[in-house]
């Protein structure tokens, strides 16, 4: 267990170093930072001064190390477009994305699990059949079209939900939350459905197929033969075994929720980091792009690590620390 943990941490570290190298290379080689930061009226002395100030006269590895040093402390320089520190812009925008992602993830996992289990248990019923057919269509729909469709139905035709923005927010320290106002909660509904729907479909289909597989196993038959209640057979024995493979995929899905938030945020003009990233790409605002890349990598690598560790918690067969008894 310990050796495994250390190895996974090391791998995660290497991945982050590589991503850091990509981010730094963007910084250093895409366009000229000095050109980008100085206006039209500049002297050669200005350029020289800024060059050494930014450390651009140092050898490449030193610059890379400096960049990493800054990145660890959350320093990513100044946005070319907004002229403010990137860290400040991102920390202002991050709560919006995290709240959206958390609600979507919760919905995707909750409804994915419930519907997956339901369609597995009642697999011959008409309800399960209709859910499965609907989910097939859901998988083929591009995310942004789902968003537009929801806007059309609920904002344009029915006019019951807002089509853009976060509504009113409340400041809790530096964190701006939309959870505490009615308009904030209303504004969350459509974006979170848009973002969560696709992941929910995937989780549901996965849970269903894994659960059906588990229900065919001998230990389920044996649990029934021991006279356990059907509820206990399904939820204590079958569901727990279903979750083992489901956890990995779901973990990775959570990662992509943060990435797909870019699309949802654009459709709904949601003021999060995804929209920030898209605007950064449009205006080639490299520091913001690099910072976003690092931020999302840390999240992805972190999620992967947690998923791996969860495996140990849930599956005793992977814990190698108990001596295997001979009989």
């Amino acid at each position: 267990m310990l050796a495994f943990t250390i190895r996974r941490f090391f791998q995660a570290f290497v991945v982050l170093l590589v991503v850091g190298l990509v981010a730094f290379s963007m910084f250093r080689f895409v366009g000229d930072p000095v050109e980008n930061m100085l206006g039209q009226e500049r002297t050669d002395a200005d350029i020289e001064r800024l060059r050494s100030q930014l450390g651009l006269d140092q050898p490449f590895p030193v610059q890379y190390f400096r960049f990493l040093e800054g990145a660890v402390q959350g320093e990513f320089g100044v946005s070319y477009r907004q002229g403010r520190p990137v860290a400040e812009i991102i920390s202002q925008r991050l709560p919006a994305t995290l709240e959206l992602a958390a609600v979507s993830a919760f919905m995707a996992i909750f409804f994915g699990l419930v519907l997956g289990v339901f369609t597995a248990i009642r697999r011959d019923g008409w309800a399960a059949h209709s859910i499965m057919t609907l989910s097939l269509i859901g998988v083929s729909l591009p995310t942004f079209l789902i968003g537009i469709l929801l806007i059309y139905v609920f904002a344009v035709e029915l006019n019951v939900l807002p089509s853009f923005g976060r509504g009113d927010v409340v400041e809790l320290g530096w964190w701006r939350t939309g959870f505490l106002t009615e308009s904030g909660l209303k504004a969350l509904i459509l974006p979170s459905i848009t973002l969560g729907l696709y992941q929910m479909t995937l989780i549901m289909r996965l849970v269903r197929s894994e659960m059906l597989e588990v229900l065919r196993q001998d230990y389920i038959r044996f649990a029934r033969a021991r006279g356990l209640k059907e509820k206990s057979v399904l939820f204590r024995h079958a569901l727990k075994n279903t979750l083992v493979p489901v956890i990995t995929v779901t973990g990775l899905q959570l990662g992509s929720i943060i990435a797909f938030a870019i699309i949802t945020e654009t459709v709904f003009q949601w003021p999060g980091v995804g929209l920030l990233f898209i605007n950064a790409i449009q205006f080639v605002d490299i520091p913001v792009m690099a910072a976003y890349l690092m931020l999302i990598s840390v999240m992805f690598v972190g999620i992967n690590l947690i998923v791996d560790m969860l495996y140990f918690v849930i599956d005793p067969r992977l814990r190698g620390d108990r001596a295997k008894a001979e009989g």
Partner: protein, 304 residues
């Protein structure tokens, strides 16, 4: 003639004829591709020729004569009086062109890197596969956005709109090579262990050439399946990027760009500017997807 008859009788064609989903999807794809390729001949207007545009025709409803000019447009017109049907045909050209080229690029890159990784093994192989693993941790669309952003940074400002389509191809292609590389590497590793390769080594001959001739036929099936599914994904990826405003520019709109433009008119009631491009995109992506699914079942059930 007999060759065609024979091909019609083959297992492949037989299972094709027996699958209504495959037949319908194929027909839809063919119609759309035909429309895209021959757009200049079919389209009633050239939406990008300012001379033919008449702002008075703006916001014409589908199938109804325009209030000012009396002209009738099948699917209506947008704010600038461009015929929606024509813009869809031209938009599909861009969407399909980007999709095909991106997949072709991903395929060539993936197959080559897969062969190298499988054949040479060692450090080069490890590096290639590690890069593939790292890239796989991130969703393809994110990788494509990032590459698009970087490539855009390298493009001189005045060329950005012109180069956008090529940058898109590069970005989507680079985000999608991993699948191809994995399959080809797997096949190469299997082939490498076979006796004729060992024999070639013992004879002091180069096994690479012979292996190539053995590996490529083996991977045609899986690569074709991955390519078809990738095509659907690439079309959606292109539409998504263009919709987000980091793809095809308004001067050269793809289906995604058209949807982006159309979204602006959703609240004012001009639904057709958005609706028809969206339905076209959906039909295109869905039918290519279903065709890919069918192809996977026929050619390689194990890929499931």
């Amino acid at each position: 003639m007999t060759a065609i008859a024979q091909a019609w009788q083959s297992d492949f064609m037989w299972s094709f004829r027996r699958s209504p989903v495959a037949v319908v999807s194929f027909i839809v794809v063919m119609i759309l591709v035909f429309g895209a390729v021959f757009a200049p001949l079919i389209a009633p207007y050239n939406p990008f020729d300012p001379a033919t545009l008449n702002l008075m025709n703006g916001f014409s409803k589908p199938m109804q004569p325009n209030a000012f000019t009396g002209e009738t447009f099948w699917l209506g017109t947008d704010d600038q009086g461009r015929d929606v049907f024509s813009t869809i045909l031209y938009g599909m050209r861009i969407s399909l062109f980007v999709g095909f080229c991106a997949v072709l690029f991903a395929m060539v890159l993936g197959v080559t890197l897969g062969l190298i990784a499988g054949y040479s093994g060692g450090l080069v192989g490890t590096i290639i596969m590690r890069v593939a693993d790292v890239q796989l941790t991130f969703p393809a669309i994110l990788v494509a956005m990032l590459i698009f952003g970087i490539a855009k940074g390298f493009t001189p400002v005045h060329l950005r709109d012109q180069m956008a389509v090529w940058v898109l191809i590069l970005a989507i292609g680079l985000s999608d090579w991993v699948q191809f590389a994995r399959v080809v590497r797997g096949a190469t590793l299997v082939e490498k262990k076979k006796e004729y390769v060992q024999a070639a080594h013992l004879n002091g001959r180069k096994a690479a050439g012979i292996m190539l001739r053995h590996i490529l036929p083996n991977v045609v099936g899986p690569v074709l399946v991955i390519a078809t599914i990738s095509l659907a994904l690439a079309i959606i990826a292109e539409a998504t990027l263009s919709f987000l405003g980091v793809g095809a520019p308004p001067t050269q709109p793809s289906l995604g760009t058209l949807i982006r433009i159309g979204q602006g008119f959703l609240f004012s009631g001009e639904w057709w500017i958005l609706f028809f491009p969206a339905v076209t995109l959906l039909a295109l992506a869905l039918s290519v997807n279903l065709l890919g699914d069918w192809l996977r079942d026929v050619l390689n059930p194990r890929l499931r």
